[in-house]
Amino acid sequence: MSILITADTSFIVQGITGREAVNLTRENLDYGAKIIGGVTPGRAGRDIYGVPVYDCVRDIVAKHGQPDGSIVSVPPKFTRDAVFEALENGIKTIVIVTENIPRAQVAQMVELAELRGARIIGPNCLGIISPGEAKMGGVGGPAANTRQAYSKGPIGVMSRSGGMTTEIASTLTGAGLGQSTCVSIGGDAIIGTSYAELMPFFEADPETRAIAIYSEPGGRMEAELAEWVTKNASRLPIVAFMAGRFMDEMKGMRFGHAGTIVEGKEDTTAEKIERMEAAGISVAERIEEIPALIRTKLAEKSVEV
């Protein structure tokens, strides 16, 4: 099992004729994705690696039926419109790859998604992968590289960094721990789905037995996760890696991602680590410590992997 996407998930690519979108379309198809159409206004009638291109999402729905998801890879200026189009055409899982979208627009997309009962992953993310089944987004790169880094198994991964999603998966794979689903949740200050909002999905997935997360300074997402874990008596052990510890001494400076800035005490890595540890989440100093920490926590619960 997996969460959010499986081998049967059908999706479209909005902005499919863009350079990055062409690449990820091929990479996703090579990894087994069911991409039923693409959208670029004015380019109807073309195809990208056999995927037919339309002017509107509506035309894909009319011709091929309702897609489950969409990857939005259009310039920042057009992203809100593309996401609204997906939402108003019944699409329920939207991965926004685009970076540099002002947060007021992200908030609008998230608000409409909530009204429509849909879920947004991102923006500024590499998407979702359920290893051995399908991926939706640029996560892992070309299919051959993706297969090298990701393997099927019991660990759920959530990461505020797209690149570090693959680094963690690759480390887990190297240590013999496969992954159920890995989600690059995005590096912005406002994102569609946080760690805590993904937890119920992993919790309900019988194959997921532990969680690894990548986190960094800025925002309240780690505190939210710690609260969720405490309140819901989660069955899943969690190991977190905290990057950007040097930023605690550099208030007001932005590094890495748009959401990564220390403005107050709650944004610091020290405070986040304290909150997570208080909730029973182990925090690794190095990526390579994650597999052993997971095994220890699972052994404490007598769960076999």
Binding site: A107, G163, M164, A243, G256, R286
Partner: protein, 401 residues
């Protein structure tokens, strides 16, 4: 991107918010003239981006124009949190009956903007939140419904304000919400928002912060305020080295090779991507390394961008070696980065084998990349060496130097 107080006030004025008379002064004579024109007592305020200027003694009160000129000279050289004043604002001193606080910001958890309102203004709002929570209200509002005065009314009413005060405050708070959304701000704060003895309300001090991503959409306003593209308005102004890094990245739109931040160590870093850079910077510091810089590469940058970034970092005084490290890459080609770095070393007159302490970028096209590195005698490693270990190897080489 922070605004100075005088800039914030220019934006408040555009939105028709009530302000006292004020003028920016660039000399004691201008300070005297400003006080003269305003008439009556004035406040002389240092214009800095960081807080704490009152404590630093950089806000003074004057009864006469001569005193204003004298205070100008006192206030201007005061360093506030390491920051020197850009100019001095001379403002009418108003007789205050009560101080309020209002701000609009983003709540990343609720993913909505939120109005914070308090009838205990003028002091640290976090302190109010802790000691008098009933005097601080939090009211979220929608970004897709039309903006509504109802939200302002509820925010103000929640702390017990009623009567004509409520009705006078509503338009001010509503306009702050408008300002917040119109200019893509991440913070719009008025503290204090003052009730004068005659019952009117005015904005005494304010703090606005614009989202960096939205600067391009507000070019006209920024031009009006005289804010150039090279003014990053972060916690500290950019260094020459950092500006040069930004120019390297701006040459073409393919990928990122920039976001350079200067440090004073001897190990130049060419690292990526966003999260990878944070991880690697920590790993270097943890193992006793002294980074000369922070940077980010990713999104498959062009070879020339990587080359120019390498040259820039090698040109920095005190840099002995560079380390080229990334997390397992998805869409960046290892061979292109390898070529760019080696070319950069050679063009900078350095031997790549000598100056590159370690190259650790696993992922797409790594075999091609490693071939190039081997040809030039550069030490490289694949994913079997962790990011932490790779950083450690670079640190060890510098120590052995």
């Amino acid at each position: 991107m922070r605004f100075y107080e005088y800039e914030s006030k220019a934006l408040f004025a555009r939105h028709g918010m009530p302000l006292g008379q004020s003028r920016v002064a660039g000399s004691p004579e201008e300070a005297r003239a400003a006080a003269q024109a305003i008439g009556g007592p004035t406040v002389i305020k240092s214009q800095v981006l960081s807080g704490g200027r009152m404590k630093a003694g950089a806000v003074l009160f004057a009864d006469t124009p001569d005193e204003a000129a004298k205070h100008y000279e006192t206030v201007l050289p005061i360093v506030v949190n390491g920051e020197t004043a850009r100019s001095v604002l001379i403002e009418e001193k108003s007789p205050i009956a009560q101080e309020y606080f209002v701000s609009v910001t983003w709540d990343g958890r609720r993913k909505l903007p939120v109005v914070l309102f308090s009838d205990m203004g003028g002091i640290d709002i976090e302190e109010v939140a802790e000691t008098h929570p009933e005097h601080l209200s939090r009211t979220h509002f929608s970004t897709i419904l039309p903006l509504s005065e109802r939200v302002a009314k509820e925010a103000i009413g929640a702390v017990g304000v009623t009567g004509s005060d409520l009705n006078r405050l509503v338009p001010i708070v509503y306009k702050l919400m408008q300002l917040f959304l119109d200019y893509d701000l991440t913070l719009a704060e008025i503290n204090p928002l003052a009730k004068l003895e005659d019952g009117r309300f005015i904005v005494l001090d304010g703090h606005l912060d614009m989202e960096a991503e939205a600067r391009g959409d507000h070019k006209a306003v920024l031009d009006d305020l005289g804010i150039g593209d090279d003014e990053t308005r972060q916690a500290r102004p950019p260094t020459e080295f950092e500006l040069a890094g930004a120019r390297v990245n701006a040459v073409d739109h393919r990928g990122v090779a920039g976001n350079v931040v200067e440090f004073d160590g001897n190990l130049g870093l060419i690292i990526g991507a966003g999260g990878g850079s944070l991880t690697l910077f920590d790993a270097v510091r943890k193992q006793g390394g002294k980074p000369a810089n922070y940077c980010e590469i990713g999104g498959n940058p062009s070879m020339s961008k990587v080359k120019n970034l390498t040259k820039l970092i090698l040109s920095k005084p005190g840099v002995d070696k560079i380390a080229v490290m990334m997390n397992v890459v998805s869409n960046t080609r290892v061979d292109i980065v390898a070529r760019g770095v080696i070319k950069g070393c050679i063009e900078a007159g350095k031997d790549p084998a000598e100056v590159i302490a370690i190259f650790r970028i696993p992922g797409a096209w790594e075999d091609e990349g490693f071939k190039i590195l081997a040809k030039h005698g550069v030490e490289y490693c694949d994913r079997s060496v962790s990011m932490y270990e790779a950083a450690g190897r670079a640190c060890a080489k510098l120590e052995a130097n």
